[in-house]
C-alpha cells in the first residue's frame, strides 16, 4: 500500500476525513474501506466530478465492470479527458453537468464537461461537450450513495488534473490489512460539511453525537436482520431525543394482499402509524422515521421516496428519514435524509454517519 502523502499529516492539516466502506451487493463481506483526506477545495465542478470518480473507484474496488462503454474504459481514460479539458489555458473553464438514469437493476451516469451550462428553462440545445464519461452502476452504487462517497475522489482525480491547490491525498486501504494505520482501521464519527453541499436541519449532527441513540438503532437493526427494522425518533418536551423501535408489519400486509404489498419484510417495512399518536399523547414529537436495509446500502431507495411522498409532497413534512445499512448482520453505514423543497425530493444530510 502506498500513500501519495501521509494521510495523518494531511488530516491534521486540513481537518476533514471521510471513511467509507465498499460492500458486495450479494451480502458478502465488505471488501474495502476507502479513506480520503481532503481540503475545502472540493467544491463546484471538482465536487461534481468527484461523484463520478467515486463511483468509478468504488466500483473498481468491488471488482465490478463500472465503465463498459466505449467512452471511458479505464481510469486512464478519465485522466486523459480531464487533462484535455484543463488545456489550453485560454479556454473558458468547463462546466461539469450530470445526466443520471436509473433502471430497475442499475443505472448509469454521464458526466459531461461542457463549454457552458445547459439552460433547462429555455430549452437551449445541449452545449458542446468537451468530454464525456459514462459510468455504469451496479445497484449498490445508487445516486445517494455516490453523493455520499463522492467527495473522497476529488483530490486525486480532479484536484490533481485541474491543478487545484492544495493537493490532498487519496489512499485506498484494505481495512483488514494490519499494516494500515490504526486510525484508518478505527471507526470514526464524522461531522462537518456534507458531500451534497446542502446544510440539513441539523438532526444529523445531534444524532451523530448521541452514541446511545445510535446504539439503540443499531441493536434493533441487527436483531431484526435479515428483515428490515423500523421505528421512530421522537423528541420529548425536555428536548431529549429517544429511539422508539416498532414492529415491522410488512409481512402481515403482504399476507393480506400480496398484489398490493408484493414485498416481504426482507426488503420493505410498514410501521403502525398509530404509535406516533401515542408518542404525541406522551408529549413527544416525531422528528425522524428510521428503518434498515438488509445487505444493501444506506440510501433513500425509490421505494422509500415513493412511500414518503407518493403525490410529490412529503406525507410527514419536517420529518427526517434515517436509513441504516446492515450487511451480513452488522451495521455498515447510516444516512439521514430530509425533504428539500428546492428540488421537491429527499436529499442526504451531511456526510455519512461513521461506523
Amino acid at each position: 500500500m502506498t500513500f501519495a502523502r501521509d494521510p495523518k499529516e494531511l488530516f491534521e492539516r486540513y481537518g476533514r476525513q471521510l471513511l467509507v466502506s465498499g460492500v458486495e451487493f450479494d451480502g458478502q463481506q465488505r471488501l474495502h474501506r476507502l479513506a480520503a483526506v481532503f481540503g475545502a477545495e472540493a467544491t463546484g465542478p471538482a465536487q461534481a466530478a468527484a461523484e463520478v470518480c467515486a463511483r468509478y473507484l468504488v466500483g473498481a474496488g468491488l471488482g465490478r465492470a463500472v465503465a463498459p462503454s466505449a467512452w471511458a474504459a479505464s481510469l486512464a481514460d478519465l485522466d486523459r479527458q480531464l487533462t484535455l479539458v484543463a488545456s489550453p489555458a485560454d479556454a473558458p473553464p468547463p462546466v461539469a453537468q450530470f445526466w443520471f438514469a436509473s433502471r430497475p437493476y442499475g443505472g448509469s451516469v454521464d458526466i459531461a464537461l461542457t463549454d457552458r451550462a445547459t439552460d433547462w428553462a429555455s430549452g437551449d440545445a445541449d452545449p458542446a461537450r468537451v468530454a464525456t464519461l459514462r459510468v455504469e452502476l451496479g445497484q449498490e452504487a445508487t445516486d445517494a450513495d455516490a453523493v455520499a462517497w463522492g467527495t473522497l475522489a476529488a483530490d486525486l482525480l480532479v484536484a490533481d488534473q485541474l491543478g487545484l491547490d492544495p493537493l490532498p491525498a487519496l489512499a485506498v486501504v484494505d481495512w483488514r490489512d494490519p499494516a494500515a494505520p490504526a486510525y484508518l482501521r478505527t471507526p470514526h464519527r464524522l461531522s462537518g460539511a456534507g458531500a451534497s453541499g446542502r446544510a440539513g436541519p441539523g438532526l444529523l449532527a445531534e444524532y451523530s453525537g448521541h452514541a446511545a441513540l445510535r446504539d439503540a438503532v443499531a441493536a434493533e437493526a441487527c436483531a431484526r436482520y435479515p428483515c428490515e427494522a423500523c421505528g421512530l425518533i421522537v423528541r420529548g418536551a425536555d428536548g431529549v431525543l429517544e429511539v422508539v423501535a416498532t414492529p415491522n408489519l410488512q409481512d402481515r400486509y403482504h399476507a393480506l394482499d400480496p398484489a398490493a404489498y408484493p414485498r416481504t419484510a426482507r426488503t420493505a417495512y410498514t410501521l403502525n402509524e398509530r404509535l406516533i399518536a401515542r408518542q404525541a399523547d406522551l408529549g413527544k414529537r416525531l422528528v425522524a422515521i428510521w428503518h434498515s436495509h438488509c445487505d444493501a446500502g444506506a440510501y433513500f431507495s425509490a421505494e422509500d421516496a415513493r412511500c414518503a411522498a407518493p403525490d410529490g409532497q412529503p406525507l410527514y413534512p419536517g420529518v427526517s428519514y434515517l436509513v441504516v445499512s446492515v450487511i451480513a448482520g452488522r451495521v455498515a453505514g447510516e444516512r439521514m435524509f430530509h425533504w428539500d423543497s428546492d428540488i421537491d425530493g429527499y436529499v442526504a444530510e451531511g456526510t455519512p454517519v461513521g461506523q
Binding site: T267, E303, D304, Y321
Partner: protein, 94 residues
Amino acid sequence: MPTIKIPTPLRKFTADKDAVDVAGDTVGAALQALDAAHPGILAKIFDDEGKIRRFINVYAGDEDVRFQDGLKTKVGAGDEIAIIPAIAGGAGAP
C-alpha cells in the same frame, strides 16, 4: 357519532380542523359523510377502484381496517377513525 381524525396533508379540505364528527355506523359510511361535508377529500383517500389507497391507512381503534372488515367495519358513537399516511419503504429498486 364517530370522530374522524384528519392528517395534516388533508386538512386543507376541512378548514384546518384536525378532527371531524360525522354520522355513520360503518367506516365506509362515515367516510362518505366526511366527503359530503368536505367535498373532494375522499378522492385523496380512495383510488380509482374505490379501495383505500396504498399510501393511506384508515384505522378504527388501534387496528387498520384492512385487517378488520374493511369499509364495513362497524363504528359506534365516540369511536375514533384515523386517516393516516402510511409509513413504509424498503431497499432496492422498485
